[in-house]
């Protein structure tokens, strides 16, 4: 992954050490709040503030980690809320990827008049940020009786201009000669989409899938407006509701934070390479 390949070893060595040190310090600083969250999730809530004044090694480590908080979490309402988040996000990714990839294909592979205008609509729709129009949309959804339904929570996530844009950029790099050849061999447009574009675009699809997933997983305002009853409340909203209460079990709160972070984290870690590729290169270069 490294870019700079200097051919002078002596200069490299000092720079190498310095860069390594700075890189490590910054990395650790970014890790710190999460690490603290993790450690606190593994010990009783009463210990959260026990080791802060003054700071000691015990602030960031515990000798008796246990999963009690997680057990409490998963058997409670908060666990259910996290399950709701998971369901909403997975459905969004599957439905959203299909719809967005199809749209990207229509915008990149098939030349037709008015393509520019339609691409303009896509761009405009992603320039109008979702959160900005969430309040009028919530008003509309209430009229359509979609409040406190999973459909109401999922729908806004599946038509994602950003995902369309990402996939389209990748699709545009696929040579038109390839399409022409396939068409001459008698492959229909759906076949071109299904057999040529989709398999060649895995990195873009994974990147776009990640975008769709994170949109839903990180959503806060929309679920706050749309689904706050016990059966539909999502993890982040349920967690932040703890915030205002008097007797907060900090251990459980941190455990929920860890799970809500760990799930997207694992997905990002697995997809990281594809994600970066989807932003930068086309597989055909």
């Amino acid at each position: 992954m490294s870019v700079t390949v200097t051919r002078r070893p002596r200069r490299l060595r000092t720079g190498y050490l310095l860069l390594s040190l700075v890189g490590a310090l910054i990395g650790l600083a970014f890790l710190l709040p999460l690490w603290w969250t993790l450690v606190n999730s593994l010990r009783p809530g009463s210990d959260t503030f026990a080791f802060l004044n003054p700071l000691s090694w015990q602030t960031f480590f515990t000798l008796s980690p246990n999963l009690d908080n997680y057990v409490t979490l998963l058997s409670g309402d908060l666990g259910r809320a996290i399950g709701n988040s998971l369901f909403i996000s997975v459905v969004t990714v599957v439905a959203g990827l299909l719809i967005c990839a199809m749209a990207a294909f229509g915008l990149s592979a098939i030349p037709f008049r008015g393509r520019g205008a339609i691409f303009g609509i896509v761009i405009l729709s992603f320039l109008i940020p979702f959160d900005a129009i969430a309040i009028p949309l919530a008003d509309m959804f209430r009229d359509w009786n979609l409040q406190n339904t999973f459909i109401g929570l999922i729908l806004p996530g599946i038509g994602n201009g950003m995902a369309i844009f990402l996939i389209r950029t990748f699709f545009l790099a696929i040579p038109t000669e390839l399409v022409e050849a396939a068409r001459l061999d008698g492959l229909g447009w759906w076949g071109v989409f299904r057999r040529i574009y989709l398999p060649l675009s895995r990195p873009a699809l994974i990147g776009a899938g990640l975008t769709l997933f994170l949109f839903q997983w990180q959503a806060y305002m929309w679920p706050l407006l749309m689904g706050t009853d016990q059966n539909h409340i999502v993890g982040p909203v349920a967690l932040s509701n703890l915030q205002g209460q008097f007797n907060v079990d900090y251990g459980v709160m941190f455990a929920a934070s860890v799970i809500l972070t760990l799930i997207p984290l694992l997905i990002i870690m697995i997809c990281q390479r594809y994600f970066i590729q989807s932003v930068s290169t086309s597989g055909l270069k």
Binding site: S2, T6, L31, L34, L52, I118, I133, S240, M253, T261
Partner: protein, 316 residues
């Protein structure tokens, strides 16, 4: 070219465009692709129009209505809601806070993301690992990061514990009108910088290695290479990141709603929160819709200005 016989055997629908270059099929050539493309596009288009564009139109329409139940039903009031907004000290305050926030947080985040991207694309021990640690917080949902930092920012929390270790006095953070906005910017940057860095790393990795080799042979220092090779060649990802970051920071809501509710003294009352507050706490939906329209227009203006800037840079 497909053989004529093969074309006859095949049903039309299965093969929309046989013999593409034949003049006889001209009208089909023009219309078929359009229909096919629209078929591919329609689910997304319907979704985007209904879920993104329609609400903006609805918001605009409702922003021109007023009255409500007390004064005999909704009726057209023209720009009254906008006039009311601009004469409201809360709204003006919110606008100023949002502008201050925008002007500070975006350049800072993009600059940090760029420098980190440069740092983590150099060859160094454990570079990939340390980079992952910076990226790590992007997995934290905004609401969760707000909850975590609410504990860090408590008077007896981790933040003051660190200040104590350095021998500095305890700070009020979120309860101080002068510190609250900065406190929110710090937590947002913790989450955001790694994400933007990913795009810039991708851009930097796209720069051909030969350019650096050539520059090294010519004796250009690493610092010089950074500004004469890396920076100009990642200008496009930088542009994208700046636009996207600005828009996303314009819409910050969760941390404000969870941590400060806009306070203290309106010091963190960013536009999104002001809209939410107006619509649901004050129950003035029509005026809130007017504010939605202003927010959307401001967002579009920012994007337009930034694209213009980048374009003129390209021309230069």
């Amino acid at each position: 070219m497909t053989a004529p016989g093969a074309r006859i055997q095949r049903p039309r629908a299965a093969s929309p465009l046989p013999g593409t270059r034949r003049p006889r099929r001209r009208s089909r050539l023009v219309w078929r692709p359009t229909l096919v493309a629209l078929a591919f596009l329609s689910p997304a288009l319907i979704g985007l129009v209904l879920l993104r564009l329609a609400p903006a139109v609805v918001a605009f329409w409702q922003s021109l209505q007023g009255g409500g139940i007390l004064s005999g039903g909704e009726h057209f009031v023209g720009l009254d809601n906008y006039v009311e907004l601009f004469s409201s000290a809360d709204f003006i305050g919110s606008l100023l806070v949002t502008l201050l926030f925008t002007v500070i947080i975006n350049p800072v985040q993009v600059a940090i993301a760029f420098l980190l991207a440069v740092l983590y694309t150099r060859r160094a021990a454990g570079s990939g690992f340390w980079r992952s640690l910076v990226i790590l917080p992007i997995a934290v949902p905004p609401a969760v990061s707000a909850v975590i930092w609410s504990v860090i920012y408590r008077p007896d929390g981790l933040g003051n514990a660190f200040l104590g270790m350095l021998g500095l006095p305890a700070q009020p953070f979120l309860t101080s009108p002068t510190q609250s906005l900065t406190a929110i910017m710090v937590l947002l940057s913790w989450v955001g910088v790694g994400y933007w860095m990913l795009f810039l790393i991708a851009g930097i990795n796209d720069v051909p290695t030969e350019l650096y080799e050539a520059a090294s042979l010519d004796g250009a220092s690493a610092w010089r290479q950074l500004w004469t090779i890396t920076f100009p060649l990642v200008r496009r990802p930088l542009a994208f990141v700046l636009v996207a970051d600005t828009v996303s920071n314009f819409l910050v809501f969760a941390p404000v709603q969870i941590l400060t509710k806009g306070g203290p003294e309106g010091s963190t009352n960013l536009l999104m929160h002001d809209i939410f507050n107006r619509a649901y706490t004050l129950g003035d939906l029509n005026t809130a819709q007017a504010e939605v329209i202003i927010l959307v227009l401001l967002t579009l203006a920012i994007v337009a200005v930034q694209f213009r800037l980048l374009k003129s840079e390209d021309a230069a």
